[in-house]
Symmetry: D2
Subunit: 383 residues, 4 copies
């Protein structure tokens, strides 16, 4: 029962990676495990510094070539599950399912090798580091030639907000532009009992976060989706000392260049003036992140039809684009392709935690379907 | 010129302690240095666990007894000065002048010993740990008998908001009640791009800090002084992950029991309801800190007259009580006494940073006066 | 030159109505003027209490029937233009262009009568009151039978954010669901100098408006367009008296039932808890307003092609749906039809003020095109 | 029983004035009633435009002269009581007890006339208009010579926060400096559904009120009492139109010139920058109001002893100064005197509403004591 063993292989690999997560750009052990697996399958592995590794499976002569990508990094989140294979690396967690991505792509490799006399063309496996941390690993892989000779590229991402047994695709826009900002508000510290001798940076920062809510609610066209999230707020060092400064970081998600630019400048304008209202100073750094992921419509439709074959009618969804950013955008700047979601939520099993939450997990029973859909779509593109 | 050498001694001791600050309840090296100095003067030292140490200087028979107190702990502040004797203990700093307190009390010891045949009664030197961290060291010293047999107690604190060459005294209320609170706001974390699937604890906490300003501005009688300071705000762990929780600490300063109780309950009421407005939960811990420091008026007036002799007319100030808390309050619960300030600011020398700031320092030229006023007041009380 | 005289007629009618605006449900004089015009053309007029009036133009036998609707009410806005025909009714203004709607529909009547031997079927002219004030006039017109026997309905609305010479159509969703809310926050008034004896409703209301920004920015899916606008805020009666209450009104615009319901309940939840944070009480009334305007796609496409004939290629736009509400929604609940926009802005002429602003106006030179497109689309539907 | 009839007279006058309140500078009917009463007593009345009226009661030759002042204006508050003599002038109310002031001073007149052969010196009765509205009536009275020849001046004010049967006096500072500000925030109006095309003045104003709470809570020395009250907030004209502007008024109460100046400038700084944060403009007018009321300590002590005779031991209170402003300050700039409070609250009778509230009233049974204390203090000063 080759399928049963494939399923077991994918699940056991997923658990291994889940138990041993690594942060972006620090995936040494993950890379070495993948390399061992691929070499065990007889594949030649190319490693790319700050990019990851890739390997080719050559079918029969002729045909097209398609690159399949899995990202591999974990997140700086402390896992809060009771899974037997929960993270052994305290403070790091596969809370975005990249463990499943690597496991499924290894499954694709295994299966494709079994059938390599049955297709024409070449499948390239891209195992990429650091999707979670711009500049990301895609840029290095591309620069090192990992797309050279490739006609198409596919990316599959697990997602718990869709039920296992579904796939979600996007004709064109798939993922948002995702920027990062870092802010320091500089007041004047002092004794906690004498606020009038200080400029209380903590209070100024709280006012700023509150005031900035009006950017999305009042300044942006309600039809142009946008998100401004403050991810961290750190201020002060002791309960009875007024904080001399406050540090904030956050992310801006948009789909339109003019919205991105408006938020970038309005955020600074609100910051500047809230600081001035209280006599504080500020620093503002804004890094433009991954651009919008824009799929090729024809290729999205190929995934639709392959997924429907495997999952049944009504199981291919077309939701709104995601606000999340993805460096898969860079591959699509180079060659046609598509990026889509594999549903891994399962309410009946209690698998409902959102991506990036400390209790995130995936319905493992669906991973085999992920292998089949990815490989099936690739084969369709090769021919 | 014995005075010149006393001044040199006090300044060199102050610099030594400044360079080697220790946190509250961790003053091992400071204690051992003080012990060495006192034993070097031939004094018998009593050490009290979590209290500090004390030693007596016995004058002629008869007379009263007076305890003089110096606190010795530093703060968890990273010094930001270019002083040649700046802190060698990174992240710890004598930013409240306790280094000067210890040095001056050692100076008092030296001088008192020189003249112990000239006064009747006993002077007890109290070197106390952990004034900056409730429950403080005073309680342990008292429990260990450090006030036994004492008639009066004096406490002198350097303060940079008054110029060198001045003393500030308080007939009765000197320092506020100082409480501490610790708050956790618990939301629901998630991906930075999908706020609607989360409860953004960081935004809730910012709203709370903003909303809580109205406690002092709108809910408390403007004639009853009060301060609510949020000292720390820590939320989130990554710029693109919505924070599942936020931690806040702070202090409440008041002079009246009913104001203290009103703030304690209104703060929780604002917290509870701001959390409920966004679906968040909360934890609220409130520790009542040092009680109000209430001086004995007659003893305050003795310090006034001694200080005027040393500093001249118009140099003894009577400001409003300070909002700062002090465990000196506990000594005054036991025996009569007074707590007063020695001005150590000096605008002409650029010494203007407030207490607890990373650039805090003191005008060393005034420390000798501090020795004289403390000793002079003690001698007046003995007779 | 019949066209020239039609243009003059429409413009002169528009100016007359502009100069004599009336508020919703108070359009007595407007109705009587329209009646006089229609009767002057020989038409039989049906008047409907709280609905408006309608009249039929019967072409040749056979054919379909189409209703054309113009709304006629002004707004409680004080006009701030220097137009020679500016409002003579102080505090009331045609700031949404309904003056132009009535004028154009009268123009359609004139032109259709001239050619009534050239088309088959019936055109019904609907002059409706009170579009600006729910429950609106459409409901009464429909109840009175104004759609009886009609196959289709068309509504044309002028809009200054699109340039003259363009038309904007919507295949399906055209206008948002538009709800109204009324809030009273009840504190405890008192002397302006003693806030601690009061519950300051004005400050609570300001906090509430600030806190409510987070509903759109943090609680609603960024892909589901929504707007929460506070239109009025009235609190207090004297500068030195603390306000006992605050009154707020506003509107919620959405396209999805679940978003509408979430905002309705979250708005009350924020209100309830912000009030509780300060000890205030509240009243909350929420009236569901006009439902979403949903067009018939085939009819929208007919307007597209007629408009393109009159305006040229590239002049038919397909913007996002509008957030504004419209009781045209009720007609579309009964029969197929479409609602579209006629651009009347003109940057070169300085005509740029948004709808509902005190300086709003329209480029009159485009009104004749409006007549032609409306009539042309009707004729296409009749055949 | 002459006292019984005096009590009845004072209560009946108080009820008459309560039923017929007039706004500041519009006290025509009140003045004419007072004039009638005084002339009925045989006194010669001097009327002062925008000041009020005054009359002298001449005792025996010699002695000093003392002016007694009652203010007479009502407030623009709609009474919300069920008193049989509640305001007949809708929207105007004696919510600060000036009706009782006039009645008591008429009572003093009656009683003083009865005994004018028993005291030396002159009592002048000052009935002043417009205490509630700066510039107030005191300035005009003084300019017209109403203090000419006077040695002392007394002002008695009823107050419901103290129980009937008590008097509250102030050795020196009695009432705060009371300033007024008027603010307009100018945004850009528009349709309620398109916030991004507008600058929402209502939201900006709400943010400003919220942000301004930090002035008192964080910027002012907690020992220097201060109040910033926003009394009115009016913005917008329709629920579905975004407000183009917002109007705010309020009052600032302080006791120290430097606090007054700091608040005046910080308020504008917060306003300016909150507006700039959202692209709005502003207007800011600040009128310095009545200065601090500073009593003459010796005269306050005379009132103390007279009040104690009439009310008993422990019935003379020495509370903190009041935050309310008073143009009685101007009299005290000219001649020595004192301003004090007569308790008229009565919890047992349910008389607890604060000054300026729509349910305000006074315990009438105490008004006779007010006559006696005022007259008794005056007689003591004359001798």
């Amino acid at each position: 029962m080759p399928n049963e063993s494939l399923k077991e292989y994918v699940i056991s690999m997923r658990r291994y990676f889940h138990e041993n997560p690594e942060l972006s750009f620090q995936e040494a052990s993950t890379i070495s495990t993948i390399r061992k697996e691929l070499e065990g399958m007889g594949l030649e592995v190319h490693e790319v510094k700050e990019g990851g590794l890739y390997a080719d499976i050559q079918g029969m002569d002729g045909g097209k070539s398609v690159a399949l990508r899995a990202d591999m990094d974990g997140l700086p989140i402390t896992e809060d599950t009771n899974l037997p294979f929960r993270s052994k690396n305290h403070g790091v967690m596969h809370a975005c399912g990249h463990d499943a991505h690597v496991a499924m792509l290894l499954g694709v490799a295994k299966r494709a090798l079994e059938m390599k006399s049955k297709f024409r063309g070449r499948i390239r496996l891209l195992f990429q580091v650091a999707e979670e941390r711009p500049p990301g690993g895609a840029v290095s892989l591309i620069r090192a030639g990992a797309l050279k000779g490739m006609d198409y590229v596919l990316g599959q991402h697990v997602i718990s907000s869709f039920e296992a047994g579904t796939v979600a695709t996007f004709p064109r826009e798939a993922m948002a532009n995702a920027d990062e900002f870092r802010i320091r508000i500089i007041g004047k510290g002092g004794h906690g009992s004498a606020p009038h001798e200080t400029i209380d940076a903590l209070v100024v920062a709280a006012q700023f976060v509150t005031a900035a809510q009006a950017i999305v609610s009042r300044m942006i066209d309600p039809f142009l989706p946008s998100v401004v999230t403050f991810g961290t707020f750190n201020s002060g060092f002791r309960y009875n000392v007024i904080a001399p400064s406050a540090d904030l970081t956050g992310t801006v998600r948009t789909f339109h260049r003019e919205v991105q630019e408006k938020i970038r400048s309005e955020l600074e304008n609100v910051l500047k003036n809230i600081c001035a209202a209280y006599g504080a100073e500020y620093q503002y750094e804004y890094s433009e992140g991954y651009p919008t992921v824009i799929n090729t419509q024809e290729i999205s439709e190929i995934v639709d039809s392959v997924a429907e074959e495997h999952l049944g009618k009504g199981k291919v969804l077309h939701p709104n684009p995601s606000m999340g950013g993805e460096d898969f955008a860079y591959y699509l700047h180079e060659i046609p392709g598509t990026f889509y979601f594999l549903g891994v939520g399962n309410a009946a099993k209690g698998i409902t935690s959102p991506q990036h939450s400390p209790t995130y997990t995936v319905d493992e029973d669906t991973l085999e379907k992920g292998v089949e859909i990815m490989l099936g779509s690739a084969l369709r593109l090769l021919s």
